[in-house]
Amino acid sequence: MTALLEVEGLSVHFETARGVVRAVEDLSFAVERGQTVALVGESGSGKSTAALSLLRLLPAGASKIAAGRVRLDGRDLLALPPRQLRDVRGAQVGMIFQDPMMALNPVYTIGRQIAETLRLHLGLAGPAAEARAIELLRRVQVPAPEQRIHQYPHNLSGGMRQRVMMAIALACRPALLIADEPTTALDVTVQAQVLALIDELKAELGMAVLLITHDLAVVWETAQRVIVLYAGRKVEEGPVGRILTRPRHPYTAGLLRAAQWAADGDRLAEIPGTVPSPHAMPPGCAFAPRCALAEDRCRRQAPPLRTLEPGHVAACFRAEEIAP
């Protein structure tokens, strides 16, 4: 059986005044049914761009999906006519975003915003839709859902709004949930609750999750597979146990060390250097300028992805030498 989601050679470019930004370049990965795949990387590495382009949600005009295929259940979403794509959005694939403060329409009640999806995809209207909305809110653990449906987003806390977003995303029992940093904007305690809820619902609905995050602790707890993005390219992918214990790319190793230092309370827990400007990508490996292991060939030529063990790939010439 094929995977639920198969992404092949996805490239997304932004036309800007200073030239073309290759935000995502030749990205391939798969998400199996019921699996959680984490997409990690620093800010600006192209995580959101990749996630949004799966459903062609990037703003039209400036952005262009330059190449690639995104197959959901074997259907290429990038080639789908708009009408059919809309039937996939919100029904087979649900999505939640980083900033729950901005993700809901401020002028409509949350009941109405949930019911909208129910009417569109399930044909539910009136009292039936309202009852279902209440049920969904209860399922995502929003207290007093009967009253909440009449409230507006500004009446709710960030955590509550993210739950409402989940109620909307899960309203039609999608096969895949795309969660773009769903907890980054929330308080630490609320973060844990929301993540636990995603896990719970995933098990209950049997859905797959593409979880975008830069928090490796979250990855460890929720994901089965990890994809590491650096400057728009996949630099490593593998099972979570492998990636987080025996990384094979210096960038992943750096992320891990940084995460450990951060956990120990050390404030200098950064990888030295900065991500190269998207307008001035080095000719070779994009990580070479920050890499302790970099040698001449790294700066001349981008290392290809190599399979090191079954299911574990990394884009580094010296992958075998990296100490855990």
Partner: protein, 325 residues
């Protein structure tokens, strides 16, 4: 008392000092102008002697010190006595009351046309951003925006009344014809088309541009991406999700511009012979009818303040984040 009711009461109470201040300002401004009613009456009776003019002045109370005149004026105001027009030989309140419905009708029609059309065209232009519809609308809006109102009015008359002969060119109703109320309403409606278009078109252009810009800004917000991710059609996203948010700045501007529209109606009423306040202002100015002018200005400021209040309430209905306290 509900918060909205409390808000209303407070706003209405705030009206009192505002009206007094406007009255004081109007009074002062008009007294700064040379010449008064006595001069006018004297002049119109064919060059009177200085004694006669002084007598007139005394009989009008114009010889008293200014502050006394003002106190008397305010005192009468509080009993809704707006004074007596020496020129028209009638109470000011009566003159104003007679004319105000026509002006309100014209203004409401113009604002409705401007908001409805401006919103619709703005939404359309934004949804077809950089398409040919957007391009045509932008050019047309710019042309209308730059066209003088009186010229536009005259051209509309030439086109619809003279050339096509489908709409009346002036007045508010067909005079000296008996008709039922439905036919009368239709008759007034036909007379209303050209003046309200003339008055409203400038604002249609303005609101189209504003609505378009506002929509384009809303389109970049996160909840629009959420709406797309839900699978909604672009039409629904534009008209339901973006428009309601984009409307807010347009309504604010419309509220601020009420006074401006009232000013514009003076010109339009003159072009179309519309029997409203505008004509009255025009005549009062020419004849230096001080009490009448004061009365009209006061009443129009009250209208503007009241309409602003309505706009504030409307804004609260449109945006649930606004709570009137």
């Amino acid at each position: 008392m509900s918060p909205t009711l409390a808000f209303l009461t407070r706003r209405l109470l705030q009206l009192v000092p505002v009206v007094l201040a406007i009255a004081a300002l109007n009074f002062a401004l008009l007294h700064l102008a040379p010449g008064d009613a006595a001069d006018i009456v004297a002049a119109s009776s064919g060059g009177a002697s200085a004694e006669f003019t002084a007598e007139l002045r005394a009989s009008f109370g114009l010889d008293r010190p200014l502050h006394e005149q003002f106190v008397l004026f305010i005192g009468r105001l509080l009993t809704l006595d707006l004074g007596w027009s020496h020129i028209q030989q009638a109470p000011v309140l009566e003159l104003v009351a007679e004319r105000i419905p026509a002006t309100l009708l014209l203004m409401v029609a113009a604002i409705t046309v401007a908001l409805a059309a401006g919103m619709l065209l703005g939404i359309l232009a934004a949804m077809r951003h950089r398409g040919w519809i957007d391009g045509i609308l932008s050019v047309v809006a710019l042309v209308v925006y730059a066209t003088p109102q009186f010229w536009l009015g005259l051209m509309l008359i030439v086109l619809f009344s003279v050339t096509l002969g489908v709409l009346p060119s002036g007045g508010m109703m067909t005079i000296a014809t008996e008709m039922g109320w439905a036919a009368r309403a239709a008759d007034i409606g036909r007379h209303l088309v050209l003046p309200s278009l003339t008055l409203g078109l400038f604002y249609v252009a303005l609101y189209t541009r504003l609505m378009r810009a506002s929509m384009l800004e809303v389109f970049t917000l996160d909840f629009i991406t959420t709406a797309r991710a839900k699978g909604l059609s672009e039409t629904r996203i534009g008209f339901v999700h973006a428009a309601r948010n984009a409307l807010l700045p347009v309504v604010t501007l419309a509220g601020v511009q009420i006074g401006h529209i009232l000013g514009g109606s003076i010109l339009v009423e003159t072009v179309f012979g519309w029997p409203g306040l505008g004509r009255l202002v025009f005549d009062a100015l020419l004849q230096r009818d001080l009490p009448l002018l004061l009365g009209i200005l006061l009443v129009s400021s009250v209208v503007v303040v009241l309409v602003n209040l309505v706009v504030d309430l409307l804004y609260g209905l449109l945006d649930p984040r606004i709570v009137h306290r």
